[in-house]
């Protein structure tokens, strides 16, 4: 109906001087934007189907293509933006909830960008990481309260199970189903190569990847998909997912169309059935209930693996984290409101939750005040974009960070944010074999290793610049941070001084 017509968001600009009609754009676009007209011997495009993923642009051998945002506009209105108007048309047509993918794109403050890192000058020497050792290795898990000695006076060195990571970064949960087999293979192999961990998400663990178990965190979420004894045994740690930054308060939903073949088998559900994770865990309505699950999982795995509890950053996150620290969990993962997702209701993604920077600072403060900070490690996630963000997160109080969007970008994702369509042209968020094969793990795995190796160099450079030679000495070292353009309240919550102070 004309009333539903929305002018396409993007326009395909083809330089006719450069286009040689090789048709690679046509062959590579799963959205069928490009078409060859044999009569005119010309390429044509239906830009209404374009999602701006740049697959065609990247593969075009003559650089004949670019995608631009349309300048077709509604009348300027600071209150009723074109996007809001369009969404109303869409909902008036469908009667449905708007769906989105990847992280919150709204213009909320990004506190990482308002924090600046210190460096040594004159009075305290900086360290050159090329000439002196810088330790980026760290351990996650419960730390001991005090030093104990046995009756002979020797130190008791036994600790709760720990995760050893070569740098304070791990790949956060993305399920097999939400991303492809090849994407999982890239993450698993890169984690093993780098000496870090990747996370299965709620999709279970494909049998081919059990051999990377020593570098795998297995997740137990509200749907309990794919959870069985061997699965729990396979991982190096177990993560209980209570919430996700992109969609706090609701569960995941993988449509039946994607529950095919190995995905159904790995999730242990019938083919074609929707995998709907309940919003809460139906056996967890209190910290005491959570404690039961934490200890059930520990019992099941002989107390050999640390248990992580992952929550979304929400308003009273500090009090929740305090409860989790008392539940027996070894690690708390906090996911900020800019964290990514394969699919979430748009309104929830864009309006629910709080920034990870503020959540992290307030949780770290709260646990310190209560004298229980050493009982848990803190992992911060939810849009950690670079090595600078990592250094800031560690200085704010994190023991490590979770990253997912950045590794996906390394694998080719162009953040078109249409994962929910299942037609990812880069072979990541899709289960169509023809698209999945576009992500060659030999290439992808190397790109992940490259990205994190580069970050490790940068982290060492920044730490050395501050005169700090170990992650342990940077943890919670907020004196190494200064704020710019932040108000008193924000500085107080972040526990940092303003630049110049």
């Amino acid at each position: 109906m004309p009333i539903d017509f929305l002018y396409p968001k993007f326009e395909v600009v083809r330089n006719p001087q450069r286009c040689i009609a090789c048709r690679v754009c046509e062959r590579q676009c799963a959205n069928e934007v490009h078409r060859f007209d044999p009569a005119l011997n010309l390429m044509e495009s239906d830009e209404s189907k374009c999602v701006d993923c740049h697959r065609c642009v990247s593969l075009c051998p003559t650089r004949a293509l670019k995608i631009v945002e349309t300048d077709h506009a509604f009348r300027k209105n600071a209150n009723w933006s074109g996007e809001i108007i369009s969404e109303i048309y869409l909902q008036a047509k469908s009667g449905g909830v708007l769906l989105s993918s990847m992280g919150n794109p709204a213009g909320h403050p990004i506190y990482w960008d308002k924090l600046l890192i210190n460096a040594s000058q004159v009075t305290n020497p900086s360290i050159d990481p090329l000439r002196e050792p810088i330790e980026t290795k760290t351990f996650l898990g419960k730390k001991t309260h005090d030093i104990k000695r046995d009756k002979n006076g020797h130190l008791v060195t036994e600790t709760s199970p720990q995760l050893e990571i070569s740098m304070p970064v791990m790949f956060s949960a993305m399920s097999y189903g939400s991303i492809s087999y090849n994407a999982h293979e890239c993450l698993a192999r890169a984690a093993a190569e780098l000496g870090i961990y990747y996370n299965t998400g709620e999709g279970g663990l494909h049998e081919d990847f059990y051999r990377y178990g020593a570098h795998t965190i297995v997740q137990v979420a509200s749907g309990r998909f794919g959870v069985h004894k061997d699965y729990l045994e396979a991982g190096a740690a177990i993560e209980i997912k209570m919430g996700q930054g992109a969609k706090p308060g609701i569960g995941g939903h993988l449509p039946g169309g994607k529950i095919v073949g190995d995905i159904a088998k790995t999730r242990m559900i019938p083919e074609g059935s929707d995998a709907i994770s309940p919003a809460p865990h139906h056996d967890i309505y209190s910290i005491e209930d959570l404690r039961q699950l934490v200890y059930s999982l520990k019992e099941a795995t002989g107390y050999r693996k640390p248990v992580i509890v992952k929550i979304a950053a929400v308003h009273n996150v500090a009090a929740i984290a305090s409860g989790i620290a008392r539940s027996g969990a070894d690690i708390i993962a906090i996911d900020g409101f800019r964290g990514g997702t394969g699919a979430a209701p748009t309104r929830i993604r864009d309006h629910v939750g709080i920034p990870i920077e503020l959540a992290l600072a307030s949780v770290d403060d709260r646990l310190r005040e209560e004298g229980i900070r050493q009982d848990v490690s803190l992992v911060a996630g939810g849009s950690v974009r670079s090595s600078a963000d990592i250094v800031k997160a560690i200085a704010l109080g994190a023991d490590a960070v979770y990253v997912a969007t950045a590794p996906l970008l390394a694998l080719g994702c162009h953040l078109c944010a249409t994962c929910f369509t299942g037609k990812c042209n880069w072979g990541i968020a899709t289960q169509e074999p023809e698209l999945v094969k576009r992500l060659n793990p030999e290439i992808g795995f190397l790109r992940l290793v490259n990205l994190l190796t580069a970050w490790k160099h940068e982290i060492s450079e920044m730490m050395g610049g501050m005169g700090i030679n170990s992650i342990e000495a940077l943890k919670g070292n907020r004196l190494m941070l200064r704020g710019v353009g932040l108000n008193e309240k924000e500085l107080q919550i972040l526990g940092v001084r303003h630049a110049g102070e």
Binding site: I20, R27, Q28, L59, P61, R438
Partner: protein, 143 residues
């Protein structure tokens, strides 16, 4: 010696290798200028059936039938690469018929053409290998 290995598992059937091959052998400096408005005659071809596709190029056989069958001696093996001397080729196309891979073909000039691993162009990585977006065509030590 190095030869091209093709892995159909990673071939996307995008046909970019054909275009990079045609450009590499066009002698031109600008791909758009070299290939615009022409039907390309690449020295390797994508073979496709259903969802399986792969690039077929000269295997540079150890005992090449094409070299054996050449009546003028225009085909020869140099450093493991089966090469053509276009000046000598009389266009009898015996080689075209005997090649079990269909990797020798007539060129527009009448002489035959085939993949010479880009050795005639410039030493280094063949254009199809460097142009493949998914690592489906690789240069490997073999034979």
């Amino acid at each position: 010696m190095k030869r091209i290995t093709v892995n159909e598992k990673w071939c996307l059937g995008c046909h970019l290798c054909e275009y990079y091959c045609a450009f590499a052998n066009s002698g031109g400096e600008d791909m758009a200028k070299a290939l615009k408005g022409i039907t390309i005659q690449p020295r390797l071809r994508i073979e496709q059936a259903g969802c399986i596709s792969f690039a077929v190029a000269c295997r540079h056989c150890d005992t090449p039938l094409c070299v054996k069958s050449c009546i003028t001696g225009s085909l020869s093996v140099r450093d493991g690469v089966v090469c053509v001397d276009r000046e000598k080729c009389v266009g009898c196309y015996t080689c075209v018929m005997v090649c079990p891979y269909g990797a020798v073909m007539p060129s527009e000039s009448g002489a035959i053409q085939k993949c010479e691993l880009c050795t005639q162009r410039s030493p280094g990585i063949p254009a199809c290998v460097s142009g493949c977006p998914n690592g489906a065509i690789v240069l490997e030590n073999g034979g």
